[in-house]
């Protein structure tokens, strides 16, 4: 068996080792990559930036820990941006684990020095409504009456007793909706019901796999913008002038992509080098 034939039949575990090194090794180095800002990410940033202080933003955490590496940095950067602009946040989840992801992000952001000095209060500046089953039906119910969809918050406090929720009846009292999504129910359902039916202004953050499916909604104006994968999160951090986790992890992602491309090229060279032999045999 020749060199190229061996290369074509390379054990997948060899590829696994290369990928493991490519992902793990860059985490030990502080390398800041050049990241171009795309219009779709700028769309979300500009929308949040244009909101006046005190505006109400609904953030739906529709993902679980499996998608954390991509979506958690997005959540943190958007929360940081909103809090720094003194926006009021109504948090919820259409996935059972979503509100817990929100709490994690909140804990990190609320302990950052510049946010901490604002002395933000639960129930006044932000609230976590928790999770409720029903998927897109919950979105429709939010359009008519948020208090009916979520009678109590994540901690069991009736939302009628929460100061922030007074006067927040449906989407007409929400200035911007931001959805972090890793699948169903997610951005597609928010577009179909919150935007199309109730005319909410929607931005989204999606996993890199899902993001290309959302581009039609950007072009039609149903989505003001989209953060796609870790790169989208990194772009947002740069726009907000607060480079954090996503920017740091981009080096690892870049190296691992380079390794995949390297293997694809090598595989094709080996394929063409052995093609003549295969035809003959």
């Amino acid at each position: 068996m020749g060199f190229f034939e061996k290369l074509l039949k390379i054990d997948r575990r060899v590829i696994f080792i290369f990928i493991a090194i490519a992902i793990a090794l860059p985490l030990f180095f502080e390398v800041t990559m050049h990241i171009d800002i795309t219009p779709v990410v700028r769309g979300v940033y500009d929308t949040v930036e244009a909101l006046p202080s005190g505006s109400k933003v609904l953030i739906s955490f529709d993902y679980d820990p499996g998608s954390m590496p991509e979506l958690q940095p997005m959540a943190e950067s958007v929360l940081r941006h909103c809090f720094s602009k003194d926006l009021k946040l109504v948090i919820m989840g259409l996935w059972p684990q979503g509100p817990l992801q929100a709490n994690w992000a909140l804990e990190i952001i609320l302990n950052e020095p510049d946010i901490k000095e604002k002395n933000l209060k639960y129930g006044i500046d932000y609230v976590n409504l928790g999770y409720i089953a029903g998927g897109e039906v919950v979105i429709q119910r939010l359009g008519s009456d948020i208090h009916a969809a979520f009678p109590a918050d994540y901690y069991g406090t009736p939302i009628d007793e929460i100061p922030l929720m007074k006067g927040v009846q449906n989407f007409s009292n929400i200035d911007f909706v931001y959805n972090l999504s890793a699948g169903y129910p997610g951005t597609t359902e928010w577009v179909q019901f919150a935007v199309d039916r109730f005319h909410a202004k929607l931005g989204a953050g999606n996993t890199a796999v899902q993001a290309p499916l959302m581009y039609p909604y950007i072009n039609t104006g149903q989505l003001v913008g989209l953060l796609g994968g870790m790169k989208g999160a990194a772009e947002y951090e740069i726009l907000a002038k607060r480079p954090a986790r996503a920017v740091r992890y981009m080096f690892g992602q870049g190296v691992s992509h380079a390794v995949v491309i390297f293997f694809v090229i090598v595989g094709n060279i080996a394929y063409f080098a052995t093609r003549k032999k295969r035809k003959e045999s």
């Binding site: 499996g66 817990l100 119910r141 992509h257």
Partner: protein, 205 residues
């Protein structure tokens, strides 16, 4: 009557939900909201059904000592711990419920998702071959999309523009076609169900 009643209920509910979208009268809104609340409650009961189904399947495996029954014991243990742990100790940070969530559930999920990176790399090595013209186009497109995450010096900007064009033009055109196809399919299926042509939801054709 066992056949007609469900068909009548489905017809009335389906027709009502379709009509109320275009005629937002107060009476219609009341029934619409009432219907939504019903669906949310049904969703909650569906979760109970899911828990029961999970319990039964796993318990059967343990009782019959099926291959891998030990995993079923772990699944049942996890299920009961989380079911009881939440009401018993609460769901605030630091409680056993949250510790299991952060230190067991989260790493397990992250591990499962991380494995994708390895399998995608291996699959890309074996599948991305320029065998035909279409395969070559697919290969080049994938390369452009992946290369946007790698600094390429002076050609980074051009590659980024090309990647954005791919996403915003050919990819979006294909996506739109799929979306419109799915939409028309949903409308057709809904009409078949509302009109009683499609009856698989009753458990038979």
């Amino acid at each position: 009557m066992r056949r007609q009643l469900p068909i009548i209920i489905v017809f009335v509910s389906g027709a009502f939900m379709a009509i109320q979208y275009f005629i937002p009268h107060d009476a219609g809104v009341f029934f619409y909201e009432y219907g939504l609340d019903w669906i949310i409650v049904i969703g909650i009961f569906a979760m109970l059904l899911g828990i029961w189904s999970l319990f039964k399947v796993q318990l059967d495996k343990v009782v019959k000592r099926s291959p891998g029954w030990g995993y079923s014991v772990v699944a049942l243990g996890g299920l009961f711990f989380m079911l009881i742990g939440g009401p018993l100790w609460g769901i605030e940070e630091g409680t056993p419920f949250m510790q299991v969530f952060w230190y067991i559930y989260t790493p397990i999920q992250a591990t499962m998702f991380s494995l994708l990176a390895f399998y995608i790399a291996s699959a890309a090595y074996r599948a991305f071959r320029a065998r035909t013209v279409l395969a070559t186009i697919l290969l080049l497109t994938a390369m452009v999309i992946m290369l946007r995450l790698i600094p390429l010096g002076p050609i980074s900007g051009s590659n980024q523009k090309l990647a954005t064009w791919i996403l915003m033009v050919p990819s979006m055109a294909a996506n739109r076609a799929i979306l419109i196809g799915i939409g028309l399919g949903i409308v057709a299926t809904c009409l078949k169900i509302i009109l009683g042509i499609e009856r698989a939801y009753m458990g038979h054709d």
